[in-house]
Symmetry: C2
Subunit: 129 residues, 2 copies
DNA sequence: AGTTACGTTTACGTTAACGTAAGGCAGAAG
DNA sequence: CTTCTGCCTTACGTTAACGTAAACGTAACT
């Protein structure tokens, strides 16, 4: 039971266009097999796509996501490769941690502003009474 | 002591180009005063710029950041305005919270991959002995 | 045989966020 | 007065990530 999907299956399941899927392939992010002329996607391709989209939502470029996916792919088997991968992973890690703290800053700012807005609103309606 | 800065001051302090600063102004994100022809930035402008850049690092568009800044600006004083602002704030809040959980997912994935790489590395060096 | 449905390639179009000249004004320095 | 500097505007160029359109292949209905 090898689980194969058409390009449309993936497009619907992940809410992206087929154009996007072909584009990701062109950029080396996906490598579906072919049955005749048509693309055939596997479960592994779904995992990769998940990673691409997650990266996107975090503001990563496709090239950056490509790096991450290269890491996930168990084809870099020599020592130099592995060390390089570990470095890349730690780079991403750093960046993500930084992003996390920016998010926390922004969250606390937002809460503060909301409070201020609510307060202004209360005072406004009190004044109108 | 009113603290005024030239465009170059800001560019250097925030590590952006003057072109970017003019562009942000064109898009309504900054509103420096003028002395003759030249722009004169205030402390408030620095706050705004901070918000723009923070938004950028979180993958927000300039338009989205513009909304946030409009909220920060205490010029929307009627009730409808304020309610709208509070809604916007909560929207952003939702999105940021979502982003935060994506980040946590990605962090745990990264850690897992790093472990795997390290393990592969150990096994490789053990095999080479 | 015709047409509907889904797939393919090729290629030009689009938006965001600036980069990069090109040419001009204005005040400080020599 | 000329020559820098530094700032200004105007405007075309650039990259990323697809959108969109054209033109074609093919398998399955009807």
């Amino acid at each position: 039971m090898v689980e194969r999907y058409t390009i449309r299956d993936l497009a619907e399941d992940f809410a992206v266009t087929t154009r996007a899927l072909r584009f990701y392939e062109e950029r080396g992010l996906l490598r579906p097999q072919r049955k005749g002329q048509s693309r055939v996607y596997s479960a592994a391709d779904r995992v990769r796509l998940t990673l691409v989209l997650r990266g996107k939502r975090l503001g990563f470029t496709l090239d950056e996501s490509a790096e991450l996916i290269a890491m996930y792919d168990p084809s870099g088997n020599n020592e130099g490769q592995l060390r390089a991968l570990i470095n890349k992973i730690q780079e991403k890690h750093q960046r993500i941690v930084a992003q996390k703290s920016e998010i926390e800053l922004m969250l606390s700012d937002l809460k503060e502003w909301e409070q201020r807005s609510r307060k202004a609103l209360r005072e406004l309606s009190r004044g109108n009474k």
